[in-house]
């Protein structure tokens, strides 16, 4: 435990990557698998309050959903921590998305090929309403890719410059690899654009 008064903690700085995607695509699992702190979320709020609102397809074994905050923390270096913020899955929380995305390094939009439409709003959001660079990542639920990535790209109508990758949200190293893709994409975007245009957001 670091003491708040030590000189090191004063220099501590933070960065953020947003984990987005539709409802039930594995955002919470993704944050949980790689976070070094017990992932903090406010799921408890939802279990009672949302039952009549957030209907789940039969067959999806998920009894809670995430509202407002769902995040994890990763220490990159003694003076640098990376926060992962899972977005709330429901469209009625758009203002929260703006809040979470402000100052983010990039975003990982998770998609489930069995429910690809669940991630349409997230893709739209990052394409149209946000300047945060994003990568789309197919969550391999049973460890298998059930659809060709080219087909997924076409179904999501992704522009060619948006990277499309895969990960197993349960596997920390797989999630880390997906996050590397996000950071590399941001580096490419930052190098390609005038620094000022991106830095303003």
């Amino acid at each position: 435990m670091d003491s708040a008064s030590s000189p090191d903690s004063v220099k501590l700085t933070s960065a953020k990557i947003v984990i987005a995607g539709g409802f039930g695509v594995g955002k919470t699992t993704c944050v949980q698998s790689i976070s070094e702190i017990p992932p903090i979320n406010t799921e408890a709020w939802m279990t009672a309050a949302s039952e009549p609102v957030d209907r789940l397809d039969p067959g999806i074994d998920k009894t809670t959903t995430t509202v407002a905050m769902d995040f994890g923390r990763l220490t990159i270096a003694p003076d640098l921590v990376l926060y992962l913020f899972g977005t709330p899955g429901q469209p009625r929380f758009w203002p929260v998305w703006d809040d979470l995305c402000r100052g983010a390094v990039g975003a990982l939009v998770l998609a489930d090929t069995r429910h690809l439409e669940a991630s349409f709003p997230a893709v739209n959001y990052f394409e149209q309403d946000s300047d945060v660079p994003f990568v789309v990542c197919v969550n391999l639920f049973d460890g298998v890719l059930t659809h060709d990535l080219d087909d997924v790209r076409e179904a999501l109508a992704l522009s060619p410059d948006v990277p499309l990758t895969t990960c197993d949200a349960r596997d920390p190293s797989s999630v880390a690899q997906a996050l590397v893709t996000v950071v590399e994409h941001t580096m490419k975007r930052a190098a390609g654009s005038t620094a000022g245009a991106l830095a303003t957001r």
Binding site: A15, I40, T42, I76, Y83, V180
Partner: protein, 114 residues
């Protein structure tokens, strides 16, 4: 994490204020520069809880979660404590989230985990 159910409207704690002097992002880090037990005991329970938890450097979002306070209220409380130098808001070491040095460090750190 304790879940607190509010018995009063959350912004009562801030006197109805919702704005802050400085922009506090959800991942902005804050810490208590020097802990003052007498000062702590003078605070309202909710504010004191935040002050105590911030003895260890934490993000605004973490403080909100551990204190069971909404993000908006947490921001105002953090901002008030920072205005009287009771809390230290960590300044960004990098010019923007797209600073190349930051991105390189993140990439290299994440590669170690992959």
């Amino acid at each position: 994490m304790p879940t607190t159910y509010w018995k009063v409207r959350p912004y009562v704690l801030t006197g109805g204020r919702t704005r802050t002097r400085q922009h506090l992002l959800v991942h902005t880090l804050v810490s208590v520069p020097y802990y003052d037990a007498v000062f702590a005991s003078s605070l309202l329970p909710e504010v004191r809880s935040l002050y105590e938890h911030a003895r260890e450097t934490r993000s605004v979002a973490e403080l909100s979660a551990v204190c069971g306070m909404s993000l908006g209220v947490t921001r105002v409380v953090v901002d008030d404590l920072a205005a009287s130098d009771r809390l230290y808001v960590h300044a960004d070491q990098y010019s923007s989230p797209f600073d190349f040095r930051l991105l390189e460090r993140l990439r290299d750190g994440l590669r170690q985990l992959a």
